[in-house]
Amino acid sequence: MKRLLPVLWIVGVMGLAALAQSALNDYYQRVLAVIAINIMLAVSLNLTNGFSGDFSLGHAAFMAIGAYTSAILTLPARTKAIVLPDLPPWLGQVELPFLIAILIGCALAGLVAFLVGLPVLRLRGHYLSVATLGLMVIVQVVALNWQPITRGARGISGLPPLTTLLWAYGLMLVTVMVIWRIVHSSLGRAMMAVREDELAAACRGVRVFRTRLFAFVTGALFASAAGALWAHLITAITPSSFSFLLTFNVVAMVVIGGAGSVSGSVIGAVLMTLLPELLRRVETALAIGGQPLYGLSQIVIAVLMLLVMIFRPQGLMGRHELIQVLAGLSGARNKPSSAPAELAGEAQRVA
């Protein structure tokens, strides 16, 4: 049964994705694809921000690396000759399948994360947050200025629309399952030990720096894949696509869902994709004097985040997984000391 569970998930999710791909109109397909991408982003950011305890604000940087790399690699050579005439010839000629392009993007993002992580992860707390934010600014500025490769502020458009629901949900499943396995392995326990008390973890033989670096690099890999999917969904990217706003929204998903819970991030990503999508309709519907209320959806996200921080700082799921809570609920009828009870205990401690 336990071995069968992942297979059931794969078959179920991919079956539904295939069904949706054939049955739904473009708009709903796009929303569903964005949900999958956001799940990938949130779950991978949670690896550092929730599990190893390094509050990174640099996720958009890795996403940008994946998006730009894969875009340049999948763009047809004929198009490249026109929009990016100054590419080095070998890059101008190359035309790779989507998967290979994604993987190369991941490799590049992983390399950057590794090289940047070596020095930056020597920092902790706020310093790490700001340093990773600095990384995001640096990547954005490079995208803005490296004309021959990125086309600067104009960005790259006309990408092949390769991101189907099958691709999005396939990679989403890979992300969630790999990270789920990591988190529930000894490596995951090492991450949490580091988060709770670095010194104590080191005393118990955890290689603290390696563990944190691993979390950071792994998070970057999946962020990069999500960026590639996103680029080939929207089919146009500019440096401003990978701004702080993006990082902020992913952070909101993690925080609201519950940092330290994989299923929390999934729930957070779904909620924080659907809610702004609904609100965007309100924005245009509520247009005052023909002026849409742009900003409303971001305001609602910000207010939600403030309320969560004050009233439920551990997020919806805390550090628990949905499965535990459900099991606890069904067991609660005969056994009082269940997961929800522990949840309440945690809430009390935090308050």
Partner: protein
């Protein structure tokens, strides 16, 4: 290209930018010193200040000098209010909680401004006296440039005296060493924190007004990047340390302006990247900054 007048102009520019960064960095550092909060909403206090100044300048009823005074007091009050509503409930929570909250506050202000005032940048028209150029000390500069430097320096001197001489200033310094023990002295720490936020936000408002005066434009997101750069300045000087923030502000102003002035045009576009590379270098080589003493690698 490197004529004396070009150099002088760049020097004035650097002094201007440095003055503004210093004002913003002081505010960050004062609050960080006490609460260990990196206030991502700090730059947005600049924005609010700049919009208020714009409103005052475009209303004919109020004299021009109130375009500085009104933003300072309103934004100071706003800073105190935000602390009361958003940060105080989180005292004693993990330090990342307040950081996240400040991100949310920042987003709230930026999008609030977008929703009510639109994201359209608005031009700022300075009073004629400030735009004209004068010759003084053998240098030709705009009055506004002189105002920026003079005002910033005057405020920094005033703040230094305040922190040295007054009881609440001493209490602020005590808090930045140890909040718990400061309470044991019979000090109402909430009052000290409120004053710190008022000063912090008020200085940011001044910086915002000066910034919008210098660049002639206001938009909902104008404060974000200077806010981040001011953090870089504060770290360079040693975060938590007020003279350090001043020093860091001017160093950053000069580094940035001279980077743009002396690098070839295809490189000078990397100015913001340059600033953050500078931050990374400082964090790695001397994380406590030039004047700081505090241990940084606290978990």
């Amino acid at each position: 290209m490197l004529t004396p007048s070009y150099l002088i102009q760049q020097f004035i520019n650097a002094l201007n930018m440095g003055s503004i960064y210093a004002l913003v960095a002081i505010g960050l550092t004062v609050v960080y010193g006490i609460l260990r909060l990196i206030n991502f909403a700090h730059g947005d206090m600049m924005t609010v200040g700049a919009y208020l100044a714009l409103a005052v300048l475009s209303s004919l009823a109020l004299p021009a000098w109130t375009a500085l005074l009104i933003p300072v007091f309103v934004v100071a009050a706003l800073g105190v209010l935000i602390e009361r509503l958003a940060y105080r409930p989180l005292r004693g929570a993990p330090e990342v909680a307040m950081l996240i909250t400040s991100l949310a506050v920042s987003s709230l202000i930026e999008n609030g401004a977008t929703m009510t005032l639109t994201a359209q940048p608005r031009p700022v028209r300075l009073p004629a006296e400030l735009v004209q150029r004068v010759d003084a000390l053998g240098i030709n500069f705009a009055v506004m440039d002189g105002v920026i430097v003079a005002l910033a320096v005057a405020l920094m001197i005033a703040l230094s005296l305040f922190v040295r001489r007054t009881t609440i200033g001493i209490a602020m310094r005590a808090c930045s060493e140890n909040v718990r023990v400061t309470q044991l002295m019979g000090i109402d720490v909430n009052r000290v924190i409120a004053v710190a936020f008022a000063i912090s936000a008020g200085l940011a408002a001044v910086a915002g007004v000066l910034w919008s005066g210098k660049f002639g434009i206001v938009d909902p997101f104008m404060g974000f990047v200077p806010g981040l750069k001011a953090f870089v300045a504060a770290v360079i000087g040693g975060i938590g340390n007020i003279p350090g923030a001043m020093l860091g502000g001017y160093l950053l102003g000069f580094a940035e302006v001279f980077f743009v002035a002396f690098m070839p045009p295809e490189v000078s576009g990397y100015r913001d990247a340059f600033v953050f590379v500078l931050l990374l270098v400082v964090l790695l080589v001397r994380p406590s900054g030039l004047l700081g003493t505090r241990e940084v690698n606290r978990a």
